[in-house]
C-alpha cells in the first residue's frame, strides 16, 4: 500500500515535469512576448531591450527553462510579468472561486445523474429511459457560453431571481455566495451531469446483466434489494472513475463559463496568462491543474480498494 502510494507520487512528479516542458515549449512556439504586452502600444526600444534582458528572455530557451525549473524545485514559481506579484499568490487567490464552482457544479451533476442514470438503467427501454437519454444528449450538445447567457437573460434580467454574474466569498455572505453560485454551477453541472448520466446508466446496465444478478433473482430476492446489494456496489467503480475525471476537469477551471459569469477562477487566470504570454503564471496555473488531476486520480485508485475488496495494492 505505502509502496504503491510512493510509486504513484514519483509518477506524479515525472508527469508534472513533462507538463511543464510541454507548456514551456508551446507558449514559446507562438509569437509575442510578455515584455511587449507589459509596455503597451508605445515605448522606447531601449526600455524594451533592457526589460527583455532583465527577464532573461534573451537567453537560450533551454537555459530559460532550467533556470525556471531550478527555482520551481525549491518552491519558487517566479513572479508574474503582468502584475509583478509572486505566481504562487496569484494562483492561490483564485482557488476559492475555482473550488466553489467545481464542487457546486459536481453537486448539480450528481443530483441529476445518479438517480436518472440508475432509473433509466433499471427501466431500460422504457419511455423514461428514452427521455433521459435524449435529455442527456441535449445537455452535452448545448454550448455552455450560449446556455450561460440564456440563463442570465432569463433568471437575472427577466425574472430578477438571481444576480447575473460575480462571486461573493462564503465568509462575506453565505446567502450571496449561494445566489451567485447557482447559475454558473447549473451551467457547468448540466453538462457534467449529462455526461455522468450516460456512464451511470451503462455501468448499472452492465452490472444488471451479470450472472450473480440472475442468481440473486433466481433465489427470489426482491428487486430493490438486488439493486442495492448486488448491482450498485459493482457499478460504483466505473462511476467513481468518471466522477473523478469530471472533478479533475472542473478543478482546472472552466474558462468560458468563468468569463461569462465574471467568475474569478483559475480558467480566466490561465486565459489572461496565455493572452499576455505571462509564462510564469501559465506554468503555475497549469502545474496546479495537472497536480489536482493526478491527485484525484490517485484518490480514485485508492477508493477502488475500498469499493472492491478484491483490489489490493502492494
Amino acid at each position: 500500500m505505502t509502496g504503491f502510494v510512493v510509486r504513484r507520487l514519483i509518477q506524479v512528479l515525472l508527469a508534472l515535469l513533462g507538463v511543464s516542458i510541454i507548456v514551456f515549449a508551446l507558449i514559446h512556439l507562438v509569437p509575442g512576448d510578455p515584455v511587449r504586452v507589459a509596455l503597451g502600444t508605445r515605448f522606447d526600444q531601449e526600455i524594451y531591450d533592457r526589460l527583455v534582458q532583465r527577464a532573461g528572455l534573451d537567453k537560450p530557451l533551454l537555459e530559460q527553462y532550467f533556470s525556471w525549473l531550478s527555482n520551481a524545485l525549491t518552491g519558487d514559481l517566479g513572479v508574474s510579468f503582468r502584475s509583478g506579484r509572486p505566481v504562487t499568490a496569484v494562483v492561490l487567490e483564485r482557488l476559492p472561486a475555482t473550488i466553489t464552482l467545481a464542487f457546486g457544479a459536481l453537486f448539480v451533476a450528481l443530483v441529476i445523474s445518479i438517480p436518472v442514470g440508475i432509473v433509466s438503467a433499471v427501466r431500460s427501454g422504457s419511455k423514461l429511459d428514452y427521455v433521459a437519454t435524449a435529455a442527456s444528449q441535449v445537455g452535452v450538445s448545448v454550448p455552455d457560453f450560449w446556455a450561460g447567457i440564456m440563463y442570465i437573460l432569463l433568471f437575472a434580467l427577466t425574472l430578477s431571481w438571481l444576480p447575473p454574474s460575480g462571486y461573493v466569498s462564503f465568509a462575506e455572505s453565505p446567502w450571496e455566495w449561494v445566489r451567485h453560485l447557482v447559475l454558473p454551477a447549473v451551467t457547468v453541472g448540466l453538462i457534467s451531469g449529462s455526461i455522468l448520466t450516460r456512464f451511470v446508466r451503462s455501468a448499472v446496465l452492465e452490472a444488471l446483466n451479470q450472472d450473480y444478478v440472475r442468481t440473486a433473482r433466481a433465489k427470489g430476492l426482491p428487486e430493490s434489494r438486488i439493486i442495492r446489494k448486488h448491482v450498485l456496489p459493482n457499478a460504483w467503480i466505473p462511476i467513481v472513475t468518471v466522477i473523478g475525471l469530471q472533478l479533475g476537469f472542473l478543478l482546472g477551471g472552466v474558462v468560458v463559463v468563468e468569463v461569462i459569469f465574471a467568475w474569478p477562477g483559475l480558467g480566466r487566470l490561465a486565459l489572461i496568462a496565455v493572452q499576455d504570454r505571462d509564462f510564469t503564471v501559465l506554468q503555475g496555473a497549469v502545474l496546479y491543474i495537472a497536480f489536482m488531476f493526478l491527485m484525484i486520480n490517485l484518490v480514485v485508485d485508492l477508493l477502488y480498494a475500498y469499493l472492491d475488496p478484491r483490489v489490493k495494492y502492494e
Binding site: P31, T41, D44, V168, L303
Partner: protein
C-alpha cells in the same frame, strides 16, 4: 479481518493524499494580501450590490460626502497598480481616481493646473519652473512636496525601472526640486507640448517614494487623488473610499467607488439593467440603439482624439509605390466601414485629428469609392492580381469587421484581401517584425499633434512599422516639435498631415465615439474625449 485491515489502510491512504493536496494548496509562501484583506468585507457588503454596499458607508459631515458607494463595471481586471509600470486600461480606470498628475487635461482636453498651481517658462524656453499647490496631503497623511514630483519623474526616466512612458521625457534634461514648493524641469530643446507630456495621461502620476521603497505600490497605491485605495481581490474587485483631505474643496461627493470586472459585454450590460452596477465603462456600438430606447439607462458618448486606420508595408513591393497606396485609399468607402464596424457611433475622417479639436484641419484629398481612378493608378503602376495580406486581431473585433468590408470594396478594383486574424500579442510581434502587407488598428489617448505623427511617420519614429520616409515630413515634424508659437506650430502640423495623408502613410478611416452608460441615479459624470474615468464630481441620488 484481512479485508477490514485493507479498508483501513485504504482510508489512511486517501486521507494522506487529501492532506497533501490541502497542504499543496495552502502551503508554500504566505500570501500577502496587505492591509487590504481586513477591510474588504466591511466596506462592500454583498459583493456587487449597490444597495448593500451603500448602506455601510458613513455619512461625513460638512464637505460633501454622504453620496453612497458607486459600483462601476469595467471590462477587464486591473493587472497592477503601479501607474508607471502598468499599461492596462483597467488599471488606469482605477488609478485615475487615486493619483494626480502635475497638470491635467480638462474636459476640453486643454491642460489645467493640478498638483502644480502655476508655472513659468524661461526666455530660452529651456527651463520650466512649476509652483506646487499648497496644503495637498498624501492618503497616508504626509504633506505633498516638490521632491515627490522630482522623485516620480526621475523614476520614469530611470531605464532600470522600465517605465514605458520614458519616451514622453525625450527632451527632458533634468528634474529637480528647488525647494518644497518649487520644481524645475530643464530641457535640451524647446518643448511646447511639455504639459501634455507630463500630465496628459495618468501614466505620469506623481507617487510617494515610500510605497516604492516598501514594495506596496502594486498592491496598495497611495496618491493625492479624490479617492483612497482600500482593497483589491479578484472577487470583489477594487474598493476605493472618499479622501476627506482632497485638495479640491468639497469633492468628491461619493463615499466610495467599487470597480468590478465583468469581461462579457452582454453580461456587463445586464448587470446595469438589473441595477447590480451603476455604471459600465464601454458599450458595444451595436447595443447603443436598444440601450438608448431603455429609459432605465443613460447612454453618453464623446468623440476624442482616437482614430482607426490601416497602413501598407512600404518595405514590400508594390506598396513602396505611392500610387498603389493612393489607389487603395480612394477605392474604399469610409462611411460604409464606419457604419459596419461602429454602427454609426463614429465619424469618418481621411485625417487623424477630428473636427472640433484645436489641431483639426480639413484634409480630404481622396474621392470615395473612385474605382475608375484607382484602377487606372494600379494599371499605371503595372500592378496586376494584387493580393494584400491584412493583419488584424479579434481581440479588437472591429479590425476584423473593417477588413471584411475593405476586402469587399477592394474586390471592385480587382484587389484580393487575405485576412489574417491573430491574437493581439501575436499581432504586436508581427507588426514589430514587419510581417504584414497591411495592418489595421487604432491609436488612442492622443492629445498633442506630436503624439499623432512623430512616432508613426517620422523616418526614425519608433512606431513607423509601415516604413514611411519623407524628408519633408521629417523636417516639418522636427520643426513643429520645438515651435513655441501655437499658430505657427499648427501650420507646420497641417503641412505635415497633408503630406502624410497624400502619401497614404496611414490610410485613416474614422474617429470613434467613446461610449459609457449608467443608471439615471448617477449624475455629474460625463464621457471624456480621452476616455479617462473620473468620479470626483459624480453623485448618486438615492
Amino acid at each position: 479481518m484481512k479485508k477490514k485491515r485493507n479498508r483501513v489502510v485504504a482510508w489512511i491512504g486517501i486521507v494522506l493524499v487529501l492532506a497533501m493536496i490541502a497542504t499543496a494548496c495552502g502551503g508554500g509562501e504566505e500570501v500577502d494580501l496587505g492591509d487590504a484583506a481586513v477591510t474588504t468585507t466591511a466596506a462592500t457588503g454583498g459583493g456587487a450590490t449597490p444597495t448593500t454596499s451603500g448602506s455601510t458607508a458613513t455619512t461625513s459631515g460638512d464637505t460633501g460626502g454622504g453620496g453612497g458607494v458607486l459600483v462601476a463595471a469595467q471590462g477587464a481586471e486591473p493587472d497592477r497598480f503601479d501607474p508607471h509600470l502598468t499599461s492596462a486600461y483597467a488599471s488606469f480606470q482605477v488609478l485615475e481616481n487615486v493619483y494626480d498628475t502635475l497638470v491635467q487635461p480638462g474636459a476640453d482636453l486643454q491642460m489645467e493646473p493640478a498638483l502644480a498651481e502655476s508655472w513659468t517658462i524661461s526666455t530660452d524656453n529651456l527651463t520650466w519652473t512649476f509652483k506646487m499647490r499648497e496644503g495637498v496631503k498624501w492618503h497616508n497623511g504626509r504633506d505633498f512636496v516638490a521632491e515627490d514630483v522630482a522623485y516620480s519623474f526621475n523614476r520614469i526616466l530611470d531605464p532600470d525601472v522600465g517605465a514605458a512612458n520614458a519616451w514622453r521625457f525625450g527632451s527632458v534634461e533634468s528634474v529637480t526640486a528647488v525647494d518644497d514648493m518649487t520644481l524645475e524641469i530643464k530641457l535640451n530643446r524647446p518643448t511646447p507640448n511639455l504639459l501634455v507630456s507630463i500630465g496628459g495621461f495618468k501614466g505620469m502620476s506623481i507617487i510617494p517614494k515610500e510605497i516604492v521603497d516598501d514594495g506596496t505600490i502594486d498592491t496598495f497605491p497611495i496618491g493625492t487623488g479624490p479617492f483612497k485605495f482600500v482593497s483589491f481581490s479578484p472577487g470583489d474587485g477594487v474598493v476605493l473610499e472618499r479622501n476627506d483631505d482632497y485638495w479640491r474643496e468639497g469633492l468628491p461627493y461619493l463615499d466610495g467607488v467599487q470597480f468590478v470586472a465583468i469581461p462579457d459585454p452582454t453580461v456587463k450590460l445586464t448587470n446595469l439593467q438589473t441595477g447590480e452596477v451603476h455604471w459600465v465603462d464601454s458599450v458595444p456600438p451595436e447595443q447603443i440603439e436598444s440601450l438608448e430606447s431603455d429609459s432605465g439607462v443613460v447612454v453618453d458618448r464623446a468623440s476624442g482624439g482616437d482614430y482607426h486606420y490601416f497602413a501598407l508595408n512600404q518595405n514590400r513591393e508594390p506598396f513602396d509605390d505611392v500610387n498603389v497606396r493612393r489607389a487603395i485609399a480612394m477605392a474604399i468607402d469610409r462611411d460604409e466601414i464606419t457604419l459596419a464596424a461602429q454602427f454609426g457611433a463614429a465619424t469618418a475622417n481621411q485625417a487623424a485629428i477630428p473636427q472640433g479639436n484645436f489641431w483639426y484641419e480639413a484634409i480630404a484629398p481622396f474621392a470615395t469609392s473612385d474605382t475608375a481612378q484607382a484602377q487606372q493608378l494600379l494599371a499605371d503602376a503595372g500592378v496586376e492580381d494584387l493580393t494584400i495580406e491584412f493583419l488584424v486581431t479579434s481581440d479588437f473585433p472591429e479590425t476584423v469587421t473593417q477588413a471584411q468590408v475593405i476586402s469587399a470594396q477592394l474586390a471592385d478594383i480587382g484587389v484580393t484581401v487575405e485576412i489574417r486574424d491573430v491574437d493581439f500579442t501575436t499581432w504586436l510581434a508581427d507588426e514589430a517584425e514587419g510581417n504584414f502587407d497591411a495592418f489595421m488598428l487604432s491609436w488612442i489617448g492622443n492629445i498633442d499633434p506630436d503624439d499623432f505623427y512623430y512616432a508613426q511617420h517620422h523616418s526614425t519614429g519608433g512606431f513607423n512599422f509601415q516604413g514611411y520616409a519623407n524628408p519633408e515630413v521629417d523636417s516639418l515634424l522636427d520643426a513643429a516639435r520645438v515651435e513655441t508659437d501655437q499658430g505657427a506650430r499648427k501650420a507646420l502640423y497641417d503641412q505635415a498631415a497633408a503630406l502624410i495623408i497624400n502619401d497614404a502613410s496611414y490610410i485613416y478611416l474614422y474617429n470613434p465615439d467613446n461610449i459609457s452608460a449608467w443608471l439615471p441615479d448617477v449624475t455629474g459624470y460625463a464621457v471624456r474625449g480621452d476616455n479617462a474615468v473620473r468620479f470626483e464630481e459624480t453623485q448618486l441620488n438615492r
